[in-house]
């Protein structure tokens, strides 16, 4: 059953990918949906068996590498953490598969798209069920590759190709850190299997490493390197630039990969490695600061973006920041809980926006929308549900998870915890603001689209709205249902030792924070929504006036804090310059010129010269012979 849940998506991807042309569009869609759907159905009893009934297990499939002391196997590790992930991934993924059937109905390469989606699901499942770091890295790179393929799915669009390459390159930076982290773990523990490593962690708490004469705490170094990988994959500050551009991919891709699942892999990694991170407090502080900063920073940008998908993309970035700082303060259960609820409501928001884009004839700019709610009532309702879950209005899912994170941050009573709390509250305010802005600009007010587009506005077909309804159910109820198990009284029996906490339990501390802390997220949410209602419904001229009054701030935010420009200046252009230098001056100008080209041209000129010796005159030939023998004779006589 375990293997079936993991490998059915791969089977679907294989069939649709290699035989899609033979079996046709419809069959490809059916086979991939069936594969992922069955996996989803299997994952639910699996979740109950593993997480609720406590039957953790490791299913070994086969040996992979055995070399000296290095051993890795293909194995599926099912503990509560992976069971949660498997269930979330397969359920969201199967709904998105179905949605894609409708959304991609006008596309020419449906089998390829469905195959990629299923392949992605498989790689993600490999990642979360990995029993060792090498297999986890396999899944990690697998989702990276499919992400690249899907961002560039419309490969005829130059922007899509550029975005795909950008995503790949930025992720390489993170992956390099991750790899170094794996190397470090192998160096320190002589193993890459989780159980072996985790059992050995306490014995290596005081180990140090010396690198170029600088002495450092080994576990902190490893944890930081792993976190660099997580930052890349989860688009945290400094390595976040690829995520907004990744919206070039089809909307179901944005929903599945760049919101619900893949980008949360970094959070998963930190949670998975929590037994190690717990012994690296300095690294945890870095995680907290980066996460909290990202949460706030991304939210500020989300407030001024005009592309509906980009707003949600920055929102994703921001929510991932919440998850990270939850991990950083040790509230791993809260982080994973938020990961799970976020998967539902963020997928819902993306698919809802996809439905809007579909209705608006592929228009993504919110400035050209407005006043369409009467025409797309179902989508409108779904977007409201997703938004309420996102801005953490009770009893929607986000309320339970996000408030817990904020309370835990406050309850940590550390300076970084306070920083995270303040940033988190600020981000919550902004989240409410940009979410409201998104809804009001898109659905309310005067229609700003041209008449032709407005005439075409229509509700999406059932194949698209039904998955929306499924996700909406998750967005409404997942928080309520999961609260007790994940972060409530049942959490000890639920998690057991899947997540480690050393010292004080931050979840426990979160339950004992002052009342104002509990209420403050609620207050800022109402404030934010009210502000956006005021600015975009009652006085729609205010935003323009604000932008005109503070052009510096507006441009700064609109240009995403100029990160792309900075990177372009500091990394991209120097890299191009160095590459050009080595290519033009180094390779072509020096090596080629004096190496291959130089030798071949001197041989050709030598050939001409030798040819000109061949005059055709008999006496020249005889002369050469006589000279030759004279030289030989004198050489031999003088030499001997």
């Amino acid at each position: 059953m375990e293997a079936a849940a993991i490998f059915l998506p791969l089977v679907g991807a294989f069939i649709a990918g290699f035989f899609g042309r033979q079996i046709g569009d419809r069959a490809s869609q059916v086979v991939t949906c069936l594969g992922v759907g069955s996996a989803a159905v299997l994952s639910i009893p699996l979740f109950f068996d593993v997480a609720v009934n406590g039957n953790e297990r490791v299913v070994t499939i086969m040996n992979w590498i055995n070399s000296g002391t290095f051993e890795t196997a293909w194995a599926l590790r099912f503990d509560t953490l992976s069971a949660v992930m498997v269930m979330t991934v397969t359920c969201v993924s199967s709904l998105i598969h179905v949605y894609s059937v409708g959304y991609m109905s006008h596309d020419d390469s449906k089998p390829r798209f469905m195959a990629y989606l299923s392949l992605f699901t498989f790689a993600m499942l490999m990642l979360v069920t990995a029993d060792n770091l090498v297999q986890l890295f396999f899944g990690w790179e697998g989702v990276g590759v499919v992400s690249y393929l899907l961002i560039g799915f419309w490969f005829k669009k130059p922007t899509a190709n550029a975005a795909a390459i950008k995503a790949f390159v930025v992720n390489r930076v993170g992956d390099f850190g991750f790899l170094l982290g794996i190397f470090g773990i192998y160096m320190l523990f002589d193993a890459v299997t989780f159980d072996t490593v985790f059992n050995a962690v306490p014995a290596h708490v005081d180990d140090t490493v010396t690198f170029f004469g600088i002495k450092g705490h080994a576990l902190t170094l490893i944890a930081l390197l792993l976190f660099v990988g997580a930052m890349g994959k989860s688009a945290q500050l400094l390595l976040h630039t690829w995520l907004p551009d990744a919206m070039e991919g089809p909307t179901p891709v944005s929903a599945l990969i760049h919101a619900a699942t893949m980008v949360t892999a970094g959070v998963f990694l930190v949670a998975r490695m929590s037994p190690l991170f717990e012994y690296a407090p300095a690294a945890l502080e870095v995680v907290t600061i980066v996460g909290a900063s990202t949460a706030f920073f991304a939210a500020t940008i989300g407030c001024v973006q005009n592309d509906i998908k980009r707003v949600i993309a920055y929102s994703t970035c921001s929510q991932l920041g919440y998850m990270f700082f939850a991990c950083g303060i040790g509230a791993y259960p809260a982080a994973i809980f938020h990961l799970m609820t976020h998967a539902w409501f963020k997928a819902l928001l993306f698919l809802g926006s996809g439905s809007v884009i579909h209705a608006m004839s592929n228009e993504q700019d919110m400035r050209k929308m407005g006043g369409i709610w009467k025409h797309v009532k179902v989508t409108y309702a779904m977007m409201w549900i997703g938004t309420l879950a996102l801005v953490a209005v009770p009893p929607f899912a986000g309320y339970y998870s996000k408030d817990m994170i904020l309370e835990a941050a406050f309850g940590a009573h550390t300076s970084v915890g306070q920083y995270a709390f303040i940033m988190g509250i600020g981000a919550a305010l902004l989240t409410a603001f940009y979410s409201g802005r998104l809804l009001f600009m898109t659905f309310h007010g005067e229609p700003r689209a041209d008449k032709e587009t407005m005439d075409h506005v229509h509700e999406s077909p059932l194949v698209m709205t039904l998955p929306l309804a499924g996700l909406a159910l998750g967005a409404i109820f997942s928080g309520m249902i999961g609260y007790d198990l994940f972060i409530g009284e049942g959490r000890f029996d639920f998690w057991r030792d899947a997540l480690a906490v050393v010292g004080e339990d931050p979840i426990e501390a979160a339950h004992h924070v002052p009342a104002w802390v509990v209420w403050s997220p609620m207050v800022v949410t109402v404030l934010g929504l009210g502000l956006s209602f005021h600015m975009y419904m009652r006085r729609p001229e205010i935003p323009g006036q604000l932008a005109a009054k503070f052009p510096g701030v507006y441009q700064f935010l609109l240009n995403k804090w100029y990160f792309d420009e900075l990177y372009d200046f500091f990394f991209v252009r120097p890299a191009f310059w160095i590459g050009n230098f080595f290519w033009k001056r180094g390779d072509q100008g020096t090596i080629d010129r004096f190496g291959p080209d130089g030798i071949s041209s001197s041989i050709i000129s030598g050939a001409r010269r030798l040819g000109s010796v061949q005059t055709g005159y008999l006496y020249h030939y005889a002369f050469a012979m006589i000279i030759g023998i004279a030289l030989f004779v004198s050489w031999i006589v003088v030499g001997s």
């Binding site: 030798l610 008999l618 030939y621 050469a624 012979m625 004779v633």
Partner: protein, 479 residues
């Protein structure tokens, strides 16, 4: 004293001499189409001579008062010569008819040339060596100018004759020096006189002269200057003959005298030969690049190939000798096959010789293109074709004899040389087609097919073919 010497070892040569004269008579008295009959009979005579040569091919036997010797080595060398000459004769027949020079003297002179070569190979005395060499050379001078109505052919003949006379003079002068300082011309006597003796400057100078004389015959740098002109001017089948039979004969004799009577002076002759060898390899590789006439190109190619073969000689070991014999064997097939292709290059009843004429023939004459491709890849030394093994054996011998720099230079020059071999293939397959070749003659196609096939399948049957070469090399070193 007047007792008749043992004639058995020389049956093959005696038969060829008689056959040559008889063929002359046949040609004179046969009225219709004499060249065809004479050619066929000459090939038959070669076959008989080969059988006779094999039948006398046993233990080393010396006769004619020590002037003449046969052993496994001379037997194998004669087989190679006869094979090369027979194949060249097959090429000559259609050529002579197409060019309107169907004079029956052509096969007859070739028979006498072959006789000279066989005598050369079996020579056991500097004098019998010279006699054989001159018989061969005289025949070749005539052959070079055989198409006497053609200006280029006569020019080639004259050049070859004058320079050949010069080379013969060098050789003879060297022989006289050797005789003057050692008191004998017999190989056995020379070996005795030179073994363990103080190295004598006179003898050494004599050997240098002899080496230079031979270097002319095998067209090694700097005595190669005649080669491009003669190759281009001489009739193509004669060029094919030139490029294999005399070279094989001269190289084999070269090998025999250097590792036989002059073995103790190896330190001296090795220096001279190394220079000649390196210069030949590089000159052959580089100068060919600028050529546009395929016969001239083949001239430089043969200069390079002689350089490679000389590596085996310079190694001076049994392994080196075996490598050189392998090389000559493989070279024979590659070269004759290539000349068969050149003889197939006929456009509207006219022979063409420019490389550009090969342009795009992969489409118009795929079989010819394929054969030439196999031959050129083999010449360039690309595995698994025969040419690779030829080079491999000589280079391996050089490395084992401690001559690593020589092997390295050989590899480098074969890289350079690969350029023009591959260029031919590129021209055939990737350039636009110009003209359609006429349908090649039957015997030309036969020779082309046999040679190309041998080059390709060499890897599958080296053992039986090379067992003879092994025995030949062993015979050289058993003394």
């Amino acid at each position: 004293m007047t007792a008749i010497p043992n004639l058995t070892p020389a049956y093959a040569e005696m038969f060829l001499a008689i056959a040559g004269m008889a063929l002359l008579m046949v040609g004179v008295f046969r009225k219709s189409d004499p060249i065809r009959g004479v050619t066929m009979l000459a090939i038959l005579a070669f076959a008989v001579a080969a059988v006779l040569s094999i039948s006398t091919n046993g233990a080393e036997t010396v006769t004619f008062n020590g002037l003449f010797v046969v052993n496994a080595f001379t037997g194998f060398a004669k087989l190679l010569i006869l094979l090369g000459a027979g194949l060249a004769m097959l090429l000559a027949l259609p050529w002579a008819r197409n060019e309107g020079v169907s004079r029956y003297e052509l096969p007859v002179i070739m028979v006498f040339a072959v006789l000279g070569m066989m005598m050369m190979v079996s020579a056991n005395n500097l004098l019998s060596l010279y006699v054989g060499l001159e018989l061969q050379s005289l025949a070749l001078y005539v052959l070079a100018a055989f198409n006497r109505g053609n200006l280029k052919a006569t020019e080639a003949g004259v050049k070859y004759f004058v320079l050949g006379a010069l080379a013969s003079g060098l050789l003879l002068y060297g022989s006289s020096l050797v005789y003057g300082f050692s008191g004998t011309t017999s190989f056995a006597g020379l070996a005795d006189a030179l073994t363990g003796a103080e190295s004598n400057a006179g003898v050494i100078v004599g050997i240098v002269f002899v080496i230079c004389g031979f270097a002319f015959k095998v067209s090694a740098v700097p005595f190669h200057m005649w080669t491009p002109d003669v190759y281009e001017g001489a009739p193509t089948p004669v060029t094919a003959f030139f490029s294999v039979a005399p070279k094989i004969a001269s190289l084999c004799l070269f090998l025999r005298i250097l590792v036989g009577p002059f073995e103790d002076l190896m330190d001296q002759w090795r220096q001279v030969l190394t220079v000649i060898c390196v210069a030949s390899m590089l000159w052959g590789a580089v100068a060919a690049i600028a050529q546009n006439n395929i016969k001239r190109l083949m001239a430089y190619s043969s200069i390079g190939h002689v350089g490679y073969a000389l590596i085996g000689l310079i190694a001076g070991t049994q392994e080196g000798a075996r490598g050189m014999i392998y090389y000559m064997l493989i070279y024979l097939f590659m070269n004759v096959g290539t000349f068969a292709v050149i003889l197939s290059m006929r456009v509207k009843d006219r022979y063409v010789e420019s490389i550009d004429d090969l342009s795009g023939i992969s489409k118009t004459n795929p079989a010819i293109a394929l054969a030439l491709t196999a031959l050129m890849f083999s010449m360039a030394g690309i595995p698994p074709l025969a040419g690779f093994f030829g080079k491999y054996f000589v280079f391996a011998a050089a490395v084992n004899a401690g001559l690593i720099p020589l092997a390295v230079i050989g590899v480098l020059s074969s890289v350079i040389g690969a350029y023009y071999y591959l260029r031919l293939i590129k021209i055939m397959y990737f350039d636009g087609s110009v003209e359609n070749f006429d349908r090649p003659d039957y015997s030309t196609s036969l020779v082309m097919g046999v040679c190309a096939l041998s080059v390709v399948v060499f890897i599958f049957l080296p053992e039986p073919l090379l067992a003879g070469a092994d025995a030949a090399a062993a015979a050289l070193f058993q003394g």
